[in-house]
């Protein structure tokens, strides 16, 4: 526990100092990683904690991005934080609606349905040209933040980086706290033994709906940041490819581990950046890594990492202990 705290604290300090250490190119990459971590995190709360495999997760990322884009296209001076908040609220409502419809099914049927709803939203994004811009998509500029005394120019990379770090970091912390609350533990029951929940007085359907809505909201906020960062969105944000990214990041990092997706997002984005310069076959290698993780290392990179740490620790203390349990997903 203490170890985890030190690692986290060290990571936070490094992230805060990053703009002074690395150049603008890598700072942009780091922003991308942070935004993708939030997206992967939202996917992991659904799959890793609730045991729900969704192939339509990109719907919420896309809707969040589109809401942000549409607002800023119509009103370029709309308050920065309000845009993010409205996007999050939008996907919250959408998540609640879709969740109450889709969660009648679980397992493979649920996965298929989410995929089909992915198709519906992709079609809407292409066909509803007057709002979504159709094939061309939407382009926007980041609004400035006016705090009365100070004006924050968000088009500056460093400023935007700190904004992302503080806001997404704060949200990540809140989510981490959530997993430690009674509700967070209830959600784990869904994954571990759903049949027993009603006997203990819990309502699995309600817990699942809350989890789905939470995950949708967080993905929507990630989408909002995505839009603010890239400044452009097109219909292909809602699709199997974007959902695949969430899946790959989550599994490479470690499914069911809170910090797994963060590591996965960093690994994925960095390796993609590295490999795409050398070969255009990089998705192939990502796919192979994914399959290997599913087959042999469901706890992902975090599992490998903490396995090494505990092995070193046990050499010292001669006691081996499993640092954290990811648990099987059903």
């Amino acid at each position: 526990m203490k170890q985890t705290f030190y690692y986290t604290a060290g990571g936070v300090v490094l992230l805060c100092l990053a703009p002074f250490i690395i150049g603008e190119v890598y700072l942009n990459l780091l922003i991308e990683i942070i935004i993708y971590s939030l997206y992967a995190l939202s996917f992991n709360i659904l799959l890793g904690y609730g045991g729900l495999l969704s192939f339509g997760h990109s719907v919420f990322l896309g809707v969040g991005a589109y809401v942000t884009g549409i607002i800023l296209l119509r009103a370029p001076d709309f308050p920065f934080l309000a845009v993010i908040l409205i996007s999050g609220l939008g996907t919250l409502v959408l998540g609640l609606g879709l969740g109450s419809l889709l969660l009648k099914q679980t397992g493979p049927a649920f996965a298929l349905l989410t995929l089909a709803f992915n198709g519906i939203f992709a079609t809407i994004a292409i066909k509803w040209k007057s709002v979504t811009g159709g094939d061309d998509g939407i382009c926007i500029f980041r609004p400035t933040i006016n705090l009365g005394a100070i004006l924050l120019d968000t088009t500056d990379v460093t400023v935007f980086y700190y904004l992302c770090l503080v806001l997404i970091g704060g949200l990540t912390f809140l989510l981490w706290r959530f997993t430690k609350t009674a509700m967070g533990h209830t959600v784990l029951l869904l994954r571990e033994n759903e049949g027993r929940m009603p006997f203990l007085g819990y309502n699995p359907a309600l817990a699942r709906l809350i989890l789905f809505t939470l995950s949708a909201t967080v993905a929507g906020i990630a989408g909002s940041f995505y839009m603010l960062f890239f400044g452009t969105v097109a219909y292909n944000i809602i699709g199997v490819e974007m959902t695949a990214i969430a899946l790959l990041m989550t599994f490479i990092g470690g499914v069911g581990m809170f910090f797994g997706p963060l590591l996965g997002a960093a690994f994925y984005t960095y390796v993609q950046n590295l490999l795409s310069g050398i070969t255009n076959k990089w998705p192939f290698f990502m796919g192979i890594i994914f399959i290997l993780m599913v087959l042999y290392q469901p706890k992902g990179l975090i599992g490998i990492f903490s396995g090494l740490v505990s092995r070193i620790g046990s050499l010292k203390r001669r006691t081996s202990q499993e640092p954290h349990s990811g648990g099987p997903i059903r």
């Binding site: 009648k104 996965a111 066909k127 899946l247 599913v294 997903i329």
Partner: protein, 286 residues
Amino acid sequence: MSQIIIFGLHGLTYAGLLFLIASGLTIVFGMMRILNFAHASFYMLGAYLSYTLFLKTGHFWVCLIVSPALLFLIGVLVERVLIRKVHSLGLVYDLLLTFGLGYVLGEIVKWIWGTMPLSVKVEGFLAGSLTLLGITYPVYRLFILLVALGIGIGLALILFKTNLGIIIRASVDDSEMCNALGINIPLIFGGVFGFGVALAGFAGVMAGPLLTISTDMANMVLLDAFVVVIVGGLSSLGGAVLASLIIGQLQSFGALLIPEVSMVLIYVLMALVLIFKPSGLLGKKG
């Protein structure tokens, strides 16, 4: 009037193709409880293999036999090497694994054949068209329809009328007991999975001359096939027939009457089925 008949026939043709794809999916799920997410990728692989075979041999018939045979071997191999490892871990792991497999297969196809669309041309009798009662229609489309009909009947006969069908169905119900009775369960499961994959490849070969062979053909058909399976009921072969017919007609007449929103129609159908009969039109409860 003749236009309505032609669009009806278009719908039937597409239904035939959809059934060819969905039947493999349904059988594998119904028999083994494995939802093969890579199914559409195997369909694509079948189409691409048929392109290469067609270049080498020049006969469409060769593709129609050799390509599914190759895919059968690939399917058996995949089941033995990959799926057997995770199958005991639960349904979601099968999905994840086959999802990754589909992803990798898509990349392999891009790697080998490139991203340019390719086409296969049928020769001789199949390339012509037939005129009946003042309506001219391509023979190849009718051929797809007939083949789908034949495969459907053949599958039903094998599963419900032969010894092999009885063994397969029994293995599904109680695999341990069947194993104890001296039936080689791993062999049966490998065979069923390989057969499902071969069906996907067969559908791919059939689709080649009708549609273009491209790297997004898997994604284009993936959703339709899954909608067929959901609407029909996850493990019901009869449901797959019914749903294919409905969706084929919806697609065809949707494109004729309301082209802007035709794509949404099948999803609306799916949502309705989900709300009123979550187990699918002909699916069993639970």
